[in-house]
Symmetry: C2
Subunit: 389 residues, 2 copies
């Protein structure tokens, strides 16, 4: 194969991906098809995209057409696994938008199909292309921080007004989205949290508030405490209700501390590891010598195009994936565990009781109240979240 023919399913967020592909920005990829069930979006696609891009209303027909080698799936969350399984079974390579799905049970099934398919399966964790988090991961993996002792992410700059939530009937409902800030806004950080450290917690105690700031039924405010196998602890705080928010990620290890905030990475490096200092120091007060280090970080953040290019390269040249689709389950596990801990008002041990989570989610989805009146807001343009996240 010299060129990957790509179809995009779902023209909300997917429309931006379609335009990137059509622009020729992704070497080796060619947008040949797009699909949406909404006639207005089909029309917009027909008017905006090159004439040789076929516009479909039926994703199954598009997948079976023989005109695409790979798909980008950007449908509502609940549909991701089902759509991805269908496409993988048709022999297509698949890139799904985040989250991988709404509950891990569903995603585990997808992962199995993907593993058996031999096709390239990736997930749009474009923040893995962010040089700040790439650098953090690289530094931790290289042992520069030593043993991790604490993680702390305050990611509260996901402000969403009521009008945002009112812009789509499926938004912020258990039946429509299957969650709130954890499932829609914060999946990138939930992924990066485990990806940068290489650690998943062993247990989670979380405190979600549902419809605290907005007239919605899902969580819009979350504080979660976690413990890792090596004894490290962590805190993750997120909300859509605060302005101005904070995005500050601190990781402390026994060789120092790294903070990512305001687009900068700062590394405080201990001259000798803390345990070594502690063993040898006899002076009472006093602490290890610490150097504040300026660490160079690549200024270029390829964002979604970085993932689209990597997905294409994986298909054409076998390039290792930045964000293997199978890894989507990790962040989702954290999100599911945070819900479950709140619902049960108790610890949640990982691996998660997926059946319990699924049944408690279904209960909520069954009682999901369709908010009305739903106002379709013209100015809600998904591209406004596109650059930053």
């Amino acid at each position: 194969m010299k060129q990957v023919r790509i179809g995009v399913i779902g023209l909300g967020m997917g429309f931006s991906h379609a335009k990137s592909l059509a622009s020729g920005a992704i070497a080796g990829a060619k947008l040949t098809a797009v699909c949406d069930i909404n006639p207005a979006k089909q029309q917009a696609a027909a008017e905006t995209l090159p004439a040789d891009v076929k516009v479909w209303s039926d994703a199954e027909a598009m997948a079976a057409s023989g005109e695409v080698d790979a798909v980008v799936i950007a449908t509502p969350h609940y549909g991701h696994p089902q759509e991805a399984i269908r496409c993988l079974n048709k022999g297509l390579h698949v890139l799904i938008e985040k989250p991988a799905g709404v509950y891990t049970k569903q995603v585990r099934e997808l992962n199995k199909v993907a593993a058996d398919s031999g096709k390239v399966f990736s997930i749009m964790y474009n923040q893995r292309c962010n040089p700040l988090y790439k650098k953090l991961r690289e530094l931790i993996a290289a042992g520069e921080l030593g043993e991790i002792r604490r993680t702390n992410w305050i990611i509260t700059n996901w402000y969403r007004s009521q009008s945002y939530y009112d812009s789509g009937g499926w938004r912020a409902t258990w039946a429509g989205e299957g969650g709130g800030v954890l499932i829609n806004q914060s999946p990138h950080q939930l992924d990066l949290w485990q990806w940068t450290t290489g650690m998943m917690p062993v247990r989670v105690r979380a405190f979600c508030a549902f419809g605290k700031y907005r007239n919605i039924e899902v969580e819009d405010d979350v504080t979660a405490y976690v413990e890792y196998e090596n004894g490290a602890t962590g805190v993750f705080i997120t909300t859509t209700g605060e302005a101005p928010g904070t995005n500050r990620y601190e990781v402390n290890g026994d060789r120092g501390k790294i903070v990512i905030e305001d687009g900068k990475l700062t590394f405080w490096r201990l001259r000798v590891p803390e345990p070594e200092f502690n063993q040898t120091y006899k002076g009472g007060f006093g602490e290890p010598e610490c150097w504040k280090c300026d660490v160079p970080v690549d200024p270029h953040h390829p964002q979604h195009n970085g993932i689209l290019q990597n997905f294409t390269d994986a298909i054409l040249k076998g390039t290792p994936l930045i964000a293997p689709g199978e890894e989507g389950i990790h962040g989702l596990t954290l999100s599911n565990a945070m819900h479950l801990s709140t619902w049960t008002d108790n610890w949640v041990e990982l691996p998660l009781d997926e059946e319990l989570y699924h049944s408690m989610l279904q209960e909520r989805a069954a009682n999901s109240v369709k908010r009305k009146p739903v106002q379709e807001i013209e100015s809600v343009d998904m591209s406004s979240t596109f650059g930053s996240y």
Copy 2:
């Protein structure tokens, strides 16, 4: 009274206070007596302090001598309430070191005696003189932040090596100190947390680790989550095991956000309150206009001398106290609640079940293991913590 004759009881931290008083830095105060049960400390006092300062070995005798109008109590924590009650009952004004005591039941008794005594009763919360926290309190009280929604204090720069803990047999034991980082290092921040916001939580869920980083029996690592009556949430993280630590305090309200870090206060002010923006905004994405404001903060931090002066002024002129002794119970309540939540692995509602806390503490104190060998370290000079905290 033209001049307050002050006696200092306990010459660890108290020695610094004695020297300040003897230096004449506190207008209207005169150091007339000091007391310690340790002969070496008596000798050091006799050699260092002016010749007219009488050195006592028996605090009760000193209090009864008629040579002091007021005392500064800087004995080990457990003794604070008992010593203070004794002095108040002798008709003396009392300034106690923090914490007010080790368990709130004991401190409640002290508060009652103090209220009935009509004497001036204060506590050495010298960080209330820190212009950064004074300013924060003033801004919040004036409504500049609006309704508080979230508090977050990462106060992990209390590094203590094993040699520090080994420097005194009473240190970091249930019987000797009655706690670890919460009772010894962080009481200032526990106080400021409630003092700056004017809010105490209604319930606490905390995660203390005991002897995690050091060979001690008390907590050296704490993460606590709290909820306030108005729906706000908070997180407090502290440890003595990390280097380099962090001291970052963020308060978010519906009119903006204030962060105190690196000796600076930054105020992000919303042009209109968030709820008002949310009600009127119809655009979907978008958030309130926010101004990053440079707020002037008095550069002068009078530290302990600020409290000593204020205590003296309160006696001589009726000046209102910066840190009324009765308020020492608030921070201690938070500390006790964090222990109790960990011990019971459950929520702790406030007001605290003081009997339960006391009995669980006594149990631990009864089983307290005296660590040995205890090494007296010459270089452990309390004055090294004196300037900063």
